[in-house]
């Protein structure tokens, strides 16, 4: 930031608080701070409509924001990088990103809310930057009407709740559908996610057009020895029993059991107590239609469950990939222009989607049967 203390007064103000400041990061880079100051001062963004651009030799993942203040910056081009699943970033990758951003960009990295990584740059620097990213095992994509923001939770490398290997499944899908991530050919963007268990820490059911969530089909496994130790150490048994939203936990006085007909296979007891572990019969539920945005007839919506349980055995994701691809094709063939998956499913009906894909309605996906004779 320039030395003159009268410059960028609003930006300066954002560096005064105790918490980490984005303005400090911006000013430590070659980001044009005057653009941000302008936005803050006028109460309107200084960027104008931009879009995805075509750069020879590059797939999607290259875009530009127009500028309403060309005297500050003509335009702001940026690359969008496909992120390693699960958010994992080794020291080497962090350094490689830093180097790319410094060498070819504005020295700034953006970990977006959608899960991708962006580097602000110029059109000219894009091809060399992508070449360098490629050598580091990274690539660009995820802009325009393509398969976007394919993300996962951290997975079993760190999490004790992971029912499936979410980063592995996301990586499998990402590789199999790499063209769909890089070459926009869909009616609209389609965000996808893989969550390792029904806790859905990444909120895939709400944010993603198309997601798989790890689930179990048998019952939570109770280890009564561990339970006794947990109680001795102050574990709150009454609180545990009350935590079950389905009222499925029963305490006989000496052992804890799960009522098979009541358990709805969530994570409440498992989250609460180390003596309870998830069931062993595992797979994914398939959910489609989530979105945060207020576009389209439905606006923001939570996705619909289309299949409650698809088994996963021996880390074979082929069947899930087949379904993932078949659905995207069905949507692409039948959606209206710019129709998000959620709006599409509401319009054609979840039933139609299942029928077209040759799938049956499993009773578990019914909240209740319809309450009319139509």
């Amino acid at each position: 930031m320039p030395g003159d203390s009268k410059e960028f007064p609003l930006c300066r103000q954002l560096m005064k608080g105790p918490s980490p400041s984005h303005v400090r990061e911006l000013s430590d880079s070659r980001y044009p701070l005057a653009m941000y100051e302008e936005g803050l001062a006028t109460g309107e963004t200084a960027y104008g409509h931009g879009g995805y651009i075509s750069i020879p030799e590059l797939p999607s993942g290259v875009a530009v924001r127009n500028s309403c203040r060309p005297e500050i910056i003509e335009e702001s081009a940026y690359l969008r990088i496909l992120p390693p699943a699960g958010g994992w970033l080794s020291a080497g990758t962090l350094e490689k990103l830093a180097t790319c951003a410094e060498t070819y960009g504005k020295g700034l990295i953006h970990l977006t809310s959608g899960g991708t990584i962006e580097i602000y740059t110029t059109r000219e620097q894009m091809v060399p930057m992508v070449r360098e990213l490629n050598t580091a095992g990274l690539d660009i994509g995820s802009t325009g009407n393509d398969l976007r923001c394919l993300t996962a939770c951290c997975g079993p490398a760190r999490c004790d709740m992971a029912l499936i290997n979410a980063p592995a499944l996301a990586t499998y899908l990402g590789q199999r559908f790499i063209d769909e991530q890089q070459y926009p050919g869909y009616p609209q963007k389609v965000k996808s996610g893989v969550a390792g268990c029904p806790n859905d820490c990444i909120r895939a059911m709400m944010q993603k057009d198309h997601s798989f969530i790890g689930v179990y089909r048998d019952l939570p496994q109770i280890n009564n020895e561990v339970l006794a130790a947990w109680q001795q150490a102050g574990g709150d048994l009454a609180g545990l029993i009350a935590a079950c939203p389905a009222g499925a936990l029963n305490w006989t006085g000496s052992t804890l059991t799960v009522a098979p007909d009541r358990c709805w296979h969530c994570m409440a007891c498992i989250n609460f107590c180390p003596a309870i572990r998830p069931g062993r019969e595992r797979g994914v539920a398939w959910v489609a239609g989530g979105k945060y945005g207020h576009r389209g007839p439905q606006g923001p919506m939570v996705g619909y469950v289309l299949v409650p349980f698809i088994p996963i055995k021996d880390d074979d994701y082929t069947a899930i990939g087949d379904l993932f691809g078949a659905f995207l094709e069905l949507w692409a063939d039948n959606a209206r222009k710019k129709e998000r998956v959620g709006d599409f499913i509401v319009r054609v009906g979840p039933l139609w989607v299942l029928k077209e894909l040759g799938l049956k309605v499993e009773p578990q996906i019914l909240l209740s049967p319809k309450r009319n004779g139509f």
């Binding site: 980490p20 400041s21 430590d28 960027y47 994992w88 990758t93 820490c201 180390p274 209206r336």
Partner: protein, 357 residues
């Protein structure tokens, strides 16, 4: 989707980001506990441990190359690897227990304190807004900064009834996820978009798309002698600005804006099932950088929940237990008329007699 003359694309392999010793332990963790704010200990059945340190990043995941190098250096010196969280925070995974105290002190000194775990304020998630986006109605990062500064102690300690997640989306696209957090902030436009007839006719606008994208049927085509125009029904328009996105050449917007504050969003499936947050303060001024009206209202919500929430009770569960009528009255929400669904299905109005007074 053939692009024969281009090299095959690369989906990054997440396993390259994780050292072999940690990969080998995949699936071995059976429990986790919070050691102190910002520090999580995962436990394996054999008794071995894995330490994670979570830090606060600047709003919106914007990091200079030098900060990125700091993160890399800390990974190399203190941990096995790192990861960005889905809330734009950062975690060091596999922190060496012997070096924990030193590491925490170094992070603190560098201005990236550990925290945001368990019953604390977690990283405030937000979109890019005025920093690099054309759609923003308000500037989410500076709001996030103001909130994080103000509630900073709640990030550093775990004294809330339960975790608190605040998200901010600067415009109706809601990339920042304001619609789904415990407390969400949604940037909205005040004005109804206007059709510039001459520019509209001059541009080649996809009228079918324009009409179908309007969530409330407020846009209707209108045949004129000069060609097809559209009219926007002011009563039906919900200011989602979809039309401006489809036809920026012919439809424009006066950028007067404000935020709505929502509460009680929740994901996961261990209670009612995922639900978007509900609007409690429909219209709060958000002129940069005067965010006191936002912070005051968030504080009212947090204070009530802090005072009356049970241990472990997320904001949504607290409201579910005490009832919306009490919650709305206590926090001074409203005007109530603006909290009612404008669209079909009108799920916000009760169809039973479960009244609480």
């Amino acid at each position: 989707m053939d692009a024969p003359d281009l090299p095959a694309g690369i989906m990054p392999d997440y396993r390259r980001e994780i050292p072999a010793e940690l990969l080998a332990r995949q699936g071995s963790w059976v429990w986790h506990e919070l050691v102190q704010p910002g520090v999580i200990r995962h436990l394996a059945a054999d008794g071995s441990e894995l330490l994670t340190v979570r830090i606060l990043l600047p709003p919106n995941g914007l990091l200079s190359a030098s900060t990125l190098r700091d993160l890399a250096r800390w990974v190399r010196e203190y941990a096995l690897t790192g990861r960005r969280t889905s809330r734009q925070g950062f975690e060091f995974v596999g922190v060496r227990p012997a070096k924990l105290e030193k590491f925490l002190a170094e992070l603190q000194a560098a201005g990236f304190p550990a925290g945001g775990t368990g019953n604390s304020l977690h990283q405030v998630k937000c979109c890019t807004s005025f920093i690099h986006c054309q759609n923003a109605a308000v500037d989410a990062p500076s709001i996030a900064q103001a909130i994080t500064d103000y509630f900073y102690q709640d990030f550093l300690q775990q004294e809330l009834p339960a975790p608190l997640k605040i998200s901010i989306g600067g415009c109706p696209n809601q990339c920042g996820g304001g619609v789904e957090a415990d407390i969400g902030i949604l940037g909205l436009y005040d004005a109804v978009p206007e059709v510039d007839e001459a520019r509209f006719l001059a541009a080649n606008i996809d009228i079918g798309l324009l009409v179908s994208w309007c969530p409330t049927g407020a846009i209707r085509p209108r045949q004129t002698e000069k060609g097809t125009l559209v009219t926007i029904d002011v009563d039906r328009c919900v200011r989602c600005t979809s039309c401006v996105q489809v036809a920026p050449e012919g439809i424009s917007l006066k950028k007067k804006s404000y935020v709505a504050i929502a509460a009680g969003g929740h994901g996961g499936n261990s209670c009612k099932g995922p639900e978007m947050a509900a609007i409690v303060f429909p219209r709060v001024p958000a002129r940069p950088l005067d965010y006191s009206a936002i912070i005051d209202r968030i504080e009212v919500i947090i204070n009530y929940w802090r005072r009356a929430g049970k241990p472990g009770e997320r904001l949504a569960g607290f409201i579910e237990r005490t009832g919306w009528s009490d919650f709305l009255a206590t926090i001074g929400a409203g005007p109530l008329e603006e909290l009612v669904d404008k669209r079909v299905p009108q799920t916000s109005i009760r169809r039973d007699l479960h009244f609480r007074y």
